[in-house]
Symmetry: D2
Subunit: 347 residues, 4 copies
């Protein structure tokens, strides 16, 4: 076995990225070495690539980014008991502190001192990655590596959809990026009566329909409000899954929500948003949930169960498959909006 | 329009039933007259027919039984505003008092003073039935009358399955009578990872598989415990839906339940049951729910949504279709165990 | 018994009010005639008195306002069974339609077609009032009429406080009008670890402390954020009860809320509010609840239990007691901010 | 500092116990050495002392028992960051595996592979004890050591009481051993409308009243059913807290429970119990919860908040204070039923 490996490296505090040959790391006590079989690219990676203000404030080069992946255990450190060489795995890349209030009451997904592998420490855009055993997720062999590399964003979707009841509910999804699209598939698999996707991009509306949306509407031209009222007996939707972070989509979503409904917000607005709290939340008796990350590890058991029993078709959202060395091309595809999910394979 | 109608009448305090021509009733204020298109037979009707001790204590002849049906509005009394002639409808036949603690806190399905149409007052085994407007359920035109005549037992199933989370859960159903079978279909439609049906009767196990059960096991010969542990990673099932009321099935079900799981009990044991509370409930940290009737009217909205969007195939459970005048034949089919659901049609 | 009674009447579509002698109404079928013993004044009544734009759009004179009261049953219409002459009663003045989606799934407090007595039809600022039996609340004789006249706003407080867990929680209340003050008493009675009241008005901060607030802070001069972090181990509060409807108080409240906390919003902002959704709701994994009215009738059972067992001291919030004929004086006291709750007594 | 310490040791597989001088242990990586200031005795310790069949099957001598205690940090192993020498602490003595399904979904209190310090490994009946950092609970300095030594059984009570809503509820507690008594105090502190204690032992009924029970009833002579119906408007109690494990008390408790109520079972019956599931759970639409241990660590935050803000008076339940060397006397007091909680102090 070689002692070096291929890696995507944010080497300098500047735009761009480098492909390098670096030493294969060794797992310490409680750590697992994973041979990466597939890694997916997230918008966060584009921020790091572009070296935007968020990246400048958060990232300390040199760093191997990448926080969505799946692979096979290649070695384990001392004390590791739950996986062994050859096991197919993915991982939760949010490493919780285990000691804050939130960690101790079952809310580790909003740990006060979270450290993200691929952001705050080396991640998975390489042939191998080191992961603490606590964060490793052993995969059912029936789940393909490509799907397993999507468990991070799929987990966002599952966390959002299953944050309340979804069976027999009428659902609006505002924003059809990857997580919005996954939410459609999850909601349908979990018995949603109907899912209405709202998205300005025509290509994504098409994918939304393929993922199972009953209606895929363009807020710019369709009369969204009227169509959704007609489809819900005049009541509005029971559940809003807000996946865009856009102020106007958020406001539209709240308008569509029926009195007494649930709004689960995952999309992150880049600045404060003005909302008619009286009409849209208070008089409506609405429940609004901020959703962040994935529950550790309830969401993972849910994903595992849904994927292992064949309930989710993620295929339409994987628009591109590239070699890890084609990372810059992946950046271009995401930048242009052409790609939804790009899956990379180390050679 | 004729002034008389065909009716099945429990005329005397003795076994048996009569077919009679009786006057068509008129709807009073707040009441709805429904022309019955399909009515289904329940085990309760067999108790009434056989005049068993329960029936002797509860039923006051003469009575038109029948509490599962669907039809079309044929007339409305003063003050009725939510339906009008020609609307397809079914009804919740538990008439709640509206005044007890339970009715006033959203638990009308366990009203202290409930009166059941078809048991405590005339029901639906006739060409026409009178229903209070509060209990009428207007149907989506896309739901066939035969399915709609099953909303009472389907509601039991939906109430039980959706009394907790079901998506991505491993589920055991003990007892595959009509409600157990419906529960399988509902659980699968709502994203259950897998449903394991447990039933002694081979014919019903076959129907269970048709309804979507991933395994249909015979407790008398299959090694149920071992098979279910194998299918759940050694953990046991997340959810037990107890539909049999048999002590041994209940005990088996609790054994199969994983630590921290949910047991929802609908099947009614005929006498006290001995259970190892320490092992099966307390140390297990289990949640046990007694389930009765259907939630008024949350369960009905759920059924409507699931049926109107085509998520449930109830067909395999309808084993016989007869004329209303063949009521005694329906009794024979149920008595022998040959039938699951028998749907009757007035001429 | 006289055939006429004293009444406060909004007689014309203009500012002001009149005191009149009007006929005592008769209870129709299902209605209850109540002799009013005490009636409390709400901000809504001031809007009606002032004939502000909201009142101009909603109120149709002539109208007897008043929706907070208690009294004694003086007569019942046909079919009334749950109360009889001489029973002490109060009433829920939101009359729900009973037919919309919300009414049928246990959310009658956000009925789509609600009609409010004292706003949309005659209310309780008179010697007698007519109330539908469904809305009558029979009082434990141990509850004084003056307290019982406050069940409407107390119900807002109980609904808000008990919309999630409160025992052993650290709680911030933003805004100490009557409902904010009642919330303090309710939260403390229900085991809140500590309640931090935030209010600009010094008099109201004093009352807040009397009602049980552990800290009563002035956002204008105290370092609220620092003090509350110090009092909560640096975590922030578990629960925010927003009672002001003021944008800056809302924003402060959300800042104080710990990650994973609950924000229950009852105060009604008069226009859209800008909030940092990313920081204050989404990354925080917060749950936000819009709260409206009182649950019918779960909140009433809760109030009854708390008051009948002596757990709430509402006294400090009753700042004035007047005769019904002094209604214009009550308006002045509220207008000036001098009064918190004014209780009126018909002669 | 001495290198040896006083310890209570189960030295042999036989009845009895020994007092020995043993070496003070050293904390390994991630471990904390605690100087024990107070330790309380539990029924489990009596089983170990008596060497009954349960003890014979579970205990491997030599063992230092004791799983209820509080003290001061005397030293920390490598990597410990959350406490340091001199900090007042107690500890959760259930050491969860962290790897099973239950541990990973927030149910560590029902871990499949739990190991209990004081049962499966050395505990706290000694001058010093070794505790993993993960299980250490840092105490507010305002909580007295004696109270803090009761956090294990108090945690059982808090877990049971707060497993559902308690504010404004009518509550029955069956069985007034230490945990039952603590439950009374907790329920009252958290806003229970009234608590009805049911207990055969007159002394314990007296303590129950001191702890805040509104009624303390003797099932052998009082007409419990009638009195509780009278005190609850004929409805029965909203919540049953079953703390006895006695079949007849369990059955009585379920009878007292109102339709739609909650039964939380903590008392452990020594053999299977016969219950009328149809009447007492199913038709009643009851929710039954098996309660085990304490939630890690939500229950601990709740206890900390309640104790640190002075909401619980545990004093009446501490019937005896002895030196650690008087351990055999503590056994006698518990055996005879004379003692409720005995607190021991190492010299």
């Amino acid at each position: 076995m070689s002692t070096t490996m291929q890696a995507v490296v944010k080497a300098y505090a500047a735009p761009g990225i480098e492909l390098r040959e670096v030493p294969i790391p060794s797992p310490g006590p409680g750590e697992v070495l994973v041979r990466v079989e597939a890694a997916s690219v997230c918008g966060t990676d584009l921020h790091i690539f572009n070296w935007d203000p968020w990246a400048q404030g958060r990232i300390h080069p040199p760093l191997i980014p990448g926080h969505e992946f799946a692979g096979v255990v290649a070695g384990v450190g001392r004390g590791v008991t739950t996986v062994s060489e050859g096991d197919p795995v993915s991982a939760e890349m949010h490493v919780a502190c285990g000691k804050c209030l939130q960690c101790r009451i079952g809310l580790a997904h909003v740990c006060q001192h979270v450290r993200i592998l691929g952001v705050d420490a080396d991640g998975a855009f390489a042939s191998y990655a080191i992961i603490p055993e606590t964060n490793i997720w052993r995969l059912s062999p029936s789940i393909p590596h490509e799907y397993a590399s999507l468990l991070d964003p799929l987990g966002n979707a599952v966390h959002t959809v299953l944050a309340g009841t979804i069976a027999a509910k009428y659902v609006a999804v505002t924003g059809c990026g990857a997580i919005g699209l996954f939410s459609i598939a999850v909601a349908k698999a979990c018995g949603a009566a109907a899912v209405f996707a709202i998205e300005v991009n025509a290509h994504r509306r098409g994918v939304a329909a393929t993922m199972g949306a009953d209606l895929a509407l363009d807020p710019a031209s369709d009369n969204v409000h009227e169509q959704i009222l007609a489809a819900t007996g005049g009541n509005g939707v029971d559940v809003l899954l807000e996946m865009s972070g856009h102020p106007s989509a958020m406001r539209l979503g709240f308008e569509l929500l029926r009195t007494g409904g649930r709004a689960s917000l995952l999309g992150i607005p880049s600045r404060p948003v003005e909302l008619d709290f009286a009409r849209d939340i208070i008089f409506k008796g609405a429940t609004v949930q901020g959703i962040n990350g994935r529950k550790m590890f309830e969401t993972w058991f849910q994903m595992e169960a849904l994927l292992a029993t064949g309930k989710l078709n993620l295929e339409p959202a994987i628009t591109h498959r590239l070699k890890l060395s084609e990372f810059p091309r992946a950046m271009e595809l995401l930048q242009s909006g052409e790609a939804i999910k790009v899956v990379l394979k180390p050679e």
